[in-house]
Assembly symmetry: C3
Homo-oligomer: 143 residues x 3
Amino acid sequence: MRIATLLLPLLLVSCAAPGGRRTVNPPDRTDGRPFSHGVLAGNTYYVAGTLGLDPETNAPPAAVEDEVRAMLDAFLAKLELVDMTMDDLVSVQVFCPDLSLYGAFNEVYATYFTEGYPVRAFIGSGELLRGCRFEMNGIAVRR
Amino acid sequence: MRIATLLLPLLLVSCAAPGGRRTVNPPDRTDGRPFSHGVLAGNTYYVAGTLGLDPETNAPPAAVEDEVRAMLDAFLAKLELVDMTMDDLVSVQVFCPDLSLYGAFNEVYATYFTEGYPVRAFIGSGELLRGCRFEMNGIAVRR
Amino acid sequence: MRIATLLLPLLLVSCAAPGGRRTVNPPDRTDGRPFSHGVLAGNTYYVAGTLGLDPETNAPPAAVEDEVRAMLDAFLAKLELVDMTMDDLVSVQVFCPDLSLYGAFNEVYATYFTEGYPVRAFIGSGELLRGCRFEMNGIAVRR
């Protein structure tokens, strides 16, 4: 009886975890935009749409590869806020107004993963905010 | 032993809840389109892509702010079908063919939340159904 | 005490299941692209963006209805990799550069479901990969 009595509250906690959510933002965030960088609900972490910007100009870098890297680094930073990595991702969507960049995107993207890839949709979009060539959002599940 | 015997079935039920799904629709729905307004799977509620329409004309209102409000009210109505509010949302995507409306959208959008924002992707799209300027879909997790 | 002792490990396993992920691909896959066809995390299965292609030409079939069917068949094949069907889907997004195809899409789409529909967003997009007229991604939860 004692073991059951001790374990049952633990079970209740871990089962209850999928209910509820916690918004996640970098401690120094100041932009005031109406979205969180991440939201954690149980083991599942939702990551906001992310652009690849040069922090000095707040515009996308000139070279496509630099923009992809800037975007994936910013995306990874959102995962690291809850101690996750790209390998925790289960699903991403990439929006891109110019499909001729598909190959260049893939080449950089593939280097960010070591334990198999999340699912992905790569969608030809309209124009993106700040003139970016890519925007990515996704879902991760803690391993 | 009695307590464990009583509690175990409850635990099984709450753990099993993430499996299975329940489609959710307003009781008076008559359009017959091949999608549900919401689907509940355990604590997680998936909300269909939602437009902002004037119920009399079935077209978007002339003023941008009115369209945003109509869309968010329709979205909230889908959440209320399962006793949720905007504060239960963890993730949304907004599609918009005209990025110059980003600021106007944000101003109305921010007023619908009181406990922190879900993650969001704001994507420049092609044309939307019924000539709308915004379409939003999302995921909520019951608090 | 014995029943509790036997049942507790089972409970722990089923509660822990939502953590972790398993990438899923067809055994004969050879394209080497940096995404998985599916990712299973507990009871939830994420399905990659799927196009409707003629396997002989690797291009979309000429007739719209044939492309929709090819896409939905390829989507179903990804679900069947984990013994799911279209009726396990909770949420899909369909991207389409030409909204005049909405009616034709719906007619074929509706025939793939027997137990109520998932939520859906049908979004006017830019150009899609390989000149396709539709791309669909989604989430399923095992019944």
